[in-house]
């Protein structure tokens, strides 16, 4: 295992080094990708070994960071699972990046910096899963945040990118502050920063301190994971970053928030009162619903996907919330079911969201726009990208037999088990969560009908879309790997669920629940509450798709074929301007949920001066400002700017004045020291 760890470390290091030396050349870009692929592959193998053997991998450097108790690395099953998720997301993204970064040769961005940060980002993120004491964890966490900040800032020449970077670094450091406080509270009781000591002493903390640690950790990790209302950086930073980085940030990095939360709440503190689960469940439901609602209104392809990340993190948190709730009431098989659903969704989201971001990147690469209203007809020019995007879209919409369906089904099953808790609040909360989760899935499907239909179908809406070209082989390869993973994880859950069961066994007192699930072709939940078989479903679909056309062919019903235009009510000239637009598609839902969106509408009609029966032009503008931007962030930002401006008066730019300040502070300190 040590060899694998060293291989991972060295490969990422060499990848970063290659980027700095020769990142501009095409050979150098391939070396960067090779380093990342080898590093991620070694990490994947390391994680798989730990999960398979059940023996944690440990490495300790007491001479590094002597103040914080040394650099302690320990990979247990939970960390190993997230290391596998990193590998699954990073290998395709790195391959894709080799082709995608060719577009930056024009000098818009620094290729050496991008390649080096890409590898360092993967390295620090991998080390987060290995960290075994507070200082190592926070150091790697901050390394991951900073490297990803530089990745977001790749196209720093654009105003929007700089703005996005500011939001991202602000939010991530607010989160870091809360994590610091949480870990200080935890470590205060233990007297040491090692996770083993924290685990041992967490039970002896007062319940108030435990609640404070929980809330701080939830908010701190939640700001990274993208829970509502701390998700504001996601729709800004994801579109700004290069697409393969967006795929990694959205598919993998935000999952580190989930990892940290599980590590602290379940592993170190061993669960807590029922309201912890209730809070996580409630925030999860709100994130899922609001995420998908704002995604529906978004016509920027990458922003749309970023809002879907908020939605999917919400779904994961619903699973974790139910798990914590059942854990509290001692219903261990059901608790395990919730956690398994959540972890499965973590893995699934890494594959399908990675795939969708890579697909969106290919579209951006070909059309140079992210605005869906300027796309259309791309399926004819980019058939492979369209196919992969369609697979990702079907998977994220939770359509069987793809992977999104399996994990959402597991989460639904765990929620439905809520009836077995004899507490009125829970019995009411769980079915409401079921309903809202169902609404979320339906809206997600509607949103991806829009995303796929408007982007890839019909006629091209702009000359750029009309002259789009298919992406190079490396980019298609990256997407193909993730598409295969989506299908594989969907068809073979009976191979995945027991592994997730082993990962959870022992965490926070969860027993080994593998015996409770029937794991053959049918997937059966504990106490036989529900069962299904995605494998048989896939077979059935294949049979249906193969059988129906062949029977029709045999019956000679389909021999005659006639090609003609699509029916457009007999219009003489059909142009792309007459097509269904993304705005029009979303309009009915905008009206239904007008109370949430509070859309601003502006209609200007310019009449002919002679008669108002002749209209010269009509201008329609509609805008949606998210309410949490206005209600939560604007007052805060305004007051922060105000305070900063007051402080600025001190900063006159005169050296003499600054010397005076130093003198005053020195005298004040001397006086204080004298008196104390």
């Amino acid at each position: 295992m040590k060899t694998l760890f060293l291989a991972m470390f060295i490969a990422y290091g060499l990848g970063a080094f290659a980027a700095l030396v020769g990142g501009r050349k095409s050979f150098g870009r391939w070396l960067v990708a090779l380093g990342a692929v080898l590093g991620a592959g070694a990490g994947l193998a390391l994680g798989a070994t730990v999960i398979a053997t059940g023996i944690p991998f440990t490495l300790f450097f007491p001479e590094l960071l002597p103040l914080g108790g040394g650099l302690a690395l320990r990979l247990d099953a939970l960390g190993a699972f997230f290391l596998v998720v990193i590998g699954v997301g990073a290998i395709p993204a790195a391959l894709y990046g080799a082709g995608y970064t060719a577009a930056y040769k024009d000098g818009r961005a620094s290729l050496p910096l991008l390649g080096a940060m890409f590898n360092l980002f993967l390295l620090t993120m991998s080390l987060v899963t290995l960290a075994d004491n507070v200082l190592t964890f926070l150091l790697m966490w901050e390394g991951m945040s900073l490297t990803s900040y530089f990745l977001v800032m790749t196209e720093a020449g654009e105003e929007r990118t700089r703005n996005a970077g500011l939001w991202y670094i602000g939010m991530t450091h607010a989160g870091l502050g809360m994590l610091l406080a949480a870990f200080l509270l935890l470590a205060g009781g233990a007297g040491s920063g090692a996770f083993a000591d924290l685990r041992a002493s967490a039970a002896s903390l007062t319940s108030g301190a435990r609640d404070a640690v929980f809330v701080l950790a939830f908010l701190g990790f939640g700001s990274k994971a993208g829970i509502v209302p701390l998700h504001v950086w996601l729709p800004r930073a994801h579109p700004a970053a290069p697409s393969h980085v967006s795929a990694l940030m959205s598919g993998v990095m935000i999952k580190m928030g989930i990892y940290g939360f599980l590590r602290v709440a379940l592993d170190l503190m061993g669960g807590g009162p029922a309201w912890w689960g209730g809070l996580v469940l409630g925030v999860g439901v709100a994130s899922a619903l609001l995420g998908v609602l704002y995604a529906l209104m978004e016509h920027d392809l990458k922003r749309l996907l970023a809002y879907h990340s908020v939605e999917n993190v919400g779904i994961i948190l619903i699973g974790i919330g139910t798990g914590l709730m059942f854990h509290r009431y001692g219903l261990m098989p059901l608790a395990a079911l919730g956690f398994i659903g959540a972890l499965y969704h973590v893995l699934n989201h890494a594959t399908f969201k990675g795939l969708l971001f890579l697909g969106a990147g290919s579209v951006l690469h070909a059309t140079h726009t992210r605005n869906m209203e300027e796309m259309g007809g791309l399926i004819k020019r980019m058939p492979w990208t369209a196919l992969f995007f369609l697979i990702g879209a079907a998977a994220i919409s939770a359509l069987p037999p793809l992977n999104g369906f399996v994990s959402e089904w597991l989460i639904f099953q765990s929620l439905l088990g809520g009836v077995s808790i004899p507490v009125p609040e829970v019995v009411v909360l769980m079915p409401v969560a079921v309903g809202l989760l169902a609404l979320t899935s339906g809206l997600a499907a509607a949103c991806f009908v829009k995303a796929f239909g408007i982007t890839f179908l019909a006629l091209p809406r702009s000359p750029e879309a009309a002259h789009a070209h298919e992406s190079p082989f490396s980019m298609r390869l990256g997407m193909a790997l993730l598409a295969l993973a989506c299908v594989g994880l969907g068809v073979a859950p009976f191979a995945v669920v027991p592994v997730l069961g082993t990962i959870l066994a022992g965490l926070g007192g969860l027993p080994d629940t593998r015996a409770e699930f029937t794991m053959n072709v049918f997937l059966q939940t504990p106490s036989a509450f529900g069962q299904m078989s995605p494998t048989l479903m896939a077979l059935g679909l294949l049979l249906l798709l193969g059988l129906v056309p062949s029977v029709l062919w045999l019956l000679r019903l389909n021999r005659q074929r006639r090609l003609s235009d699509s029916w457009g009510c007999g219009r003489v000239g059909q142009t792309a301007r007459m097509e269904y637009t993304a705005t029009a598609f979303a309009e009915p839902l905008k009206r239904v949920f007008a109370e949430i969106y509070r859309p601003m509408k502006e209609l200007t009609v310019d009449f002919h001066p002679e008669s108002k029966y002749f209209v010269q032009s009509i201008e329609y503008r509609s805008e949606i400002t998210p309410w949490f931007d206005q209600a939560l962030y604007r007052p805060f930002l305004q007051s922060a700017t105000f305070v900063a401006q007051q402080v600025r008066r001190l900063q006159a730019g005169s050296l003499h004045l600054y010397l005076l300040y130093i003198a005053i502070v020195l005298i004040l300190l001397l006086i204080v020291a004298r008196w104390l």
Binding site: R562, S564, D565, W567, C569, G570, R571, V572
Partner: protein
């Protein structure tokens, strides 16, 4: 209240004329003919190629409470893609020439065309107008003409019946 209204109002539809036996025969004949040839309802797409709307009033009379064409299997549809028959009215105006052709092309075979009214046959009073291309037969092949300005619903029904007879018989 609703119930008392129903009881008090009674029948408001007018009784059929004295020559109603002929009409009832046509209705029955249409029903059996459609079933014999199609095995299901006949789907009609109505195309107004530029009529004065007189013919449209008679056609909508066909679907009204007196004739109620749905009961013997005549069904008006919203797209030529779903239609077996086009019911075209009026002289073909310049603006409707291409749409009429497109509608004809969009209708799946086997398709029937019934031109309703004198204008559809020989442009009627609009003959020679600068806005008129010609009769329906000048633009698309017509199976049956129904004369009259406007023709009565019974006559239109007779035309539809004649056209259905031209369909290949279902085994």
């Amino acid at each position: 209240m609703l119930l008392s209204k129903i009881i008090r109002t009674g029948l408001v539809t007018e009784p059929l004329n004295s020559d109603s036996t002929r009409f009832i025969e046509v209705v029955r004949g249409t029903g059996t003919e459609i079933r014999r040839h199609l095995g299901r309802a006949l789907a009609i797409r109505e195309v107004d190629a530029g009529s004065c709307n007189g013919c449209e009033i008679e056609i909508s009379g066909l679907t009204g409470p007196v004739h109620d064409s749905e009961r013997f299997g005549i069904h008006f549809v919203a797209s030529p893609r779903h239609a077996d028959m086009l019911l075209v009215t009026g002289p073909v105006t310049r603006n409707m020439e291409v749409p009429l052709l497109k509608t004809y092309e969009a209708t799946p075979a086997p398709k029937l065309v019934v031109a309703v009214g004198d204008c559809a046959k020989h442009c009627g009073v609009f003959k020679g107008s600068y806005a008129v291309v010609g009769s329906v037969a000048d633009v698309i092949p017509v199976d049956v003409f129904v004369t009259g300005c406007p023709p009565e619903p019974a006559e239109i029904l007779q035309g539809i019946l004649t056209a259905v007879g031209r369909l290949p018989q279902k085994q």
